[in-house]
């Protein structure tokens, strides 16, 4: 090569990487350890739901099923009793969907409008209302149950789907508005100004410019709201009628019923079945979620 031979010796190319550096062992070790902590309950739920009752009484809860049975799942879905109705979770499933869809849409819509108005159309006092709203996130909801019953009654919405949608919208509003406000604040003012010069008004800008840009934050809002609304039990049962009771009512009945023996396998199957919808949504939108949070949540 060159005449300066002393320079040519020695390392060349990429630094060799060993798989088992202390750093890697630490990083992956810690991650795996935590993964066990997070997965353990899921494992327990799954294996238990696949065991028969005798096996549950005998073995330990972590061991995989000797004999796999899907009976608990069948029972949880279509046979478990709530009072005199023995049709399992299936009874409430469609109700849950029926509640979930309008509640999610309306609550996100309202919150996004709020966030938009608060970030781009501030008016006198708007920040005060926002502060009140955020403080509202910390109010224990128990204390608002009765007053809201009365308000809904006066509005003639009590017991209807739309009453419940309204309740979900109200209770989701603080965090949702916060998310959207932060997100929209991050959208350059210039874009908003350009649209105003182009003759778009409040709604025009919102619908044609802002909404199409807010996919990441909508994903976050959707995930949070779907989780909350789908898992809700109390509001669903207090503000609606049996025709509309969500799936969690059946889950609650299955899990909380004081019967001869607790059918753990059915409980677990029911639990998993109920959690399925949000879980699926989580796994589908994992990456978007982090991106959305980055865009909307972490700009204090």
């Amino acid at each position: 090569m060159t005449d300066e031979t002393n320079l040519v010796d020695g390392p060349r190319g990429p630094k060799p990487k060993r798989a088992f550096t202390r750093r890697n062992i630490f990083v992956y070790g810690t991650l795996l350890l935590f993964a066990v902590y997070y997965l353990l309950p899921l494992w327990v739920m799954v294996v238990t739901s696949l065991k028969g009752m005798p096996e549950i009484r005998m073995g330990n809860i972590f061991s995989p099923p000797v004999e796999v049975t899907f009976q608990p799942w069948v029972k949880a879905w279509s046979e478990a009793c709530t009072g005199i109705n023995c049709d399992g979770l299936s009874r409430g499933f469609w109700n849950s969907i029926k509640i979930l869809i309008p509640s999610t849409i309306v609550s996100i819509l309202i919150a996004s409008i709020n966030g938009y108005a608060l970030s781009k159309w501030r008016f006198k006092g708007s920040e005060t209302f926002f502060a009140i709203l955020v403080l509202g996130a910390f109010i224990p909801y128990q204390i608002m149950i009765y007053p809201i019953v009365i308000l809904l009654r006066e509005a003639g919405l009590y017991g209807s789907l739309w009453g419940l949608v309204l309740v979900h919208t109200i209770f989701g509003m603080p965090i949702m508005t916060l998310l959207f406000r932060n997100y929209f604040t991050g959208i350059p003012d210039e874009l908003f100004k350009a649209a105003r010069v182009d003759g778009a008004g409040f709604w025009g800008i919102f619908i044609k410019i802002m909404l199409p840009m807010s996919l990441p934050i909508i994903v976050v809002a959707m995930i949070l709201q779907i989780t909350g609304i789908w898992n809700d039990f109390l509001f669903g049962v207090i503000y609606t009628k049996p025709d509309l009771y969500p799936m969690t009512v059946q889950l609650n009945n299955i899990v909380n019923s004081v019967q001869g023996v607790k059918e753990y396998n059915v409980n677990m199957a029911a639990t998993l079945l109920t959690g399925l919808v949000p879980l699926v949504i989580y796994f589908i939108s994992g990456k978007l979620f982090v991106r959305g949070i980055a865009a909307g949540a972490v700009k204090g």
Binding site: C81, I145, Y146, R153, G159, N252, N253, N256, V258
Partner: protein, 388 residues
């Protein structure tokens, strides 16, 4: 006409009993729309009351038999059933008559009782005592005396679930057994704080202290988990209401052979008569109102009573029905009832507020060994003094 009926009877036997009611109602051409909420009395109360306040109530609802409904009645939200009662002659047929009294407010009747439950029973496992090599006790003091032997044999002498209402139930049963009737009435009915702080109750607390010591090793939550221990012979006994025998029955055990029941803990053969009742919120629709009254009448009828109570394992609210199929323990109960050796139920004499105070106190007393009997009694006095 379709009527929505709310209740919290969701366990197997309970659901079967409700099915009987529903069947009977449907047979008469109406439609029973079932709305069951397994949230226990408290959770359900929030739901039921919200529904009534929300102006879109159910057709009929289970509510705690007692003073729960007073304010709803005052607010004019519950249906007046006096005309039904008069037509069906409830005054005559409902036994004991105190049941109807608790449905009565200012002379009008607002609810239809369905069954009677009594909470003061001691259930004993024959197997446990056999394993310990001692005879089955015949009353509370023998039971206490047998505790060390049970303990030695690796049995839990007394099984008490950790829920607050169980602690309170156990304490109340012990009170009646230890103090006798008069002091109990003075404290709970007359709210006499002096008696609550007096000698008799001191003894009660000491007895309760013994009971908690021999139950300390138990780790179960639900009452039927505790009952299951008695059934299996892992525990010597449990103080529980008559609904426990449903569990024994379900496990195929025979009263007198596999287990023994001692009403009033075998000391005072007195039982109190709680139970469930149906209330009927005021509805706008006249047809539904008529259906409500039909349901009210139906609940009291003989056939319904028999069918319901056999499945539920509780006692009927009328003395003129014959439960041939009833078992040993049930019969003991009917006999006491017939002899009119009855006490009012706790929920009839104290408010839900006081009840919850008592439960808070008892559950703490039962689970915190460092709480002395003196301290417990002192707080008990406070609660009674505040009670209304």
């Amino acid at each position: 006409t379709e009527l929505e009926v709310s209740h919290w009877w969701t366990s197997g036997g309970e659901a079967a009993a409700v099915t009987e009611l529903a069947k009977a109602f449907d047979a008469s051409g109406d439609k029973w729309k079932d709305s069951a909420i397994a949230a226990g009395g408290g959770g359900a109360a929030a739901i039921i009351i919200s529904r009534i306040l929300g102006g879109d109530p159910m057709g009929a609802t289970q509510l705690n038999h007692g003073r729960d409904a007073e304010e709803l009645i005052k607010a004019g939200l519950l249906q007046d059933l006096t005309d039904v009662a008069e037509k069906e002659n409830w005054r005559e047929i409902i036994r004991p008559s105190s049941l109807l009294d608790s449905c009565t407010f200012e002379g009008r009747i607002y609810c239809a009782p369905v069954n009677i439950h009594s909470p003061q029973w001691l259930w004993l496992s024959h197997k446990a005592f056999k394993d310990a090599g001692i005879p089955v006790p015949k009353n509370w003091s023998e039971f206490i005396a047998a505790a060390p032997a049970l303990d030695k044999a690796g049995k839990l002498p007394l099984a008490v679930g950790q829920q607050a209402w169980q602690s309170n139930l156990t304490f109340n049963a012990i009170t009646i057994a230890i103090s006798g009737l008069e002091p109990w009435k003075k404290v709970y009915v007359d709210k006499n704080a002096e008696v609550a702080g007096g000698e008799e109750f001191k003894k009660v607390f000491e007895a309760a202290d013994q009971a908690r010591k021999i139950s300390a090793k138990g780790k179960m939550q639900d009452w039927n988990a505790a009952t299951a221990m008695v059934i299996k012979g892992d525990a010597g006994g449990q103080i529980m209401g008559d609904w426990a025998q449903g569990e024994f029955q379900l496990a195929g055990q025979v009263a007198g052979e596999d287990y023994t029941c001692l009403p009033g803990l075998g000391v005072t053969e007195m039982i109190s008569t709680g139970g469930d009742a149906f209330y009927f919120p005021v509805l706008k629709d006249a047809e539904q109102t008529a259906a409500q009254k039909r349901l009210a009448a139906l609940i009291i009828q003989k056939d319904t009573q028999v069918a319901f109570n056999l499945k539920k394992g509780s006692l009927p609210i009328r003395g003129d029905v014959d439960l041939e199929t009833a078992n040993d323990c049930m019969k003991k109960g009917i006999k006491i009832l017939a002899g009119n050796n009855v006490l009012p139920d706790l929920s009839q004499v104290i408010s839900a507020d006081t009840m919850s105070d008592l439960e808070d106190l008892m559950v703490e007393f039962w689970n915190d060994p460092s709480m002395t009997t003196e301290e417990a009694q002192e707080r008990f006095v406070k609660v009674i003094a505040r009670a209304d």
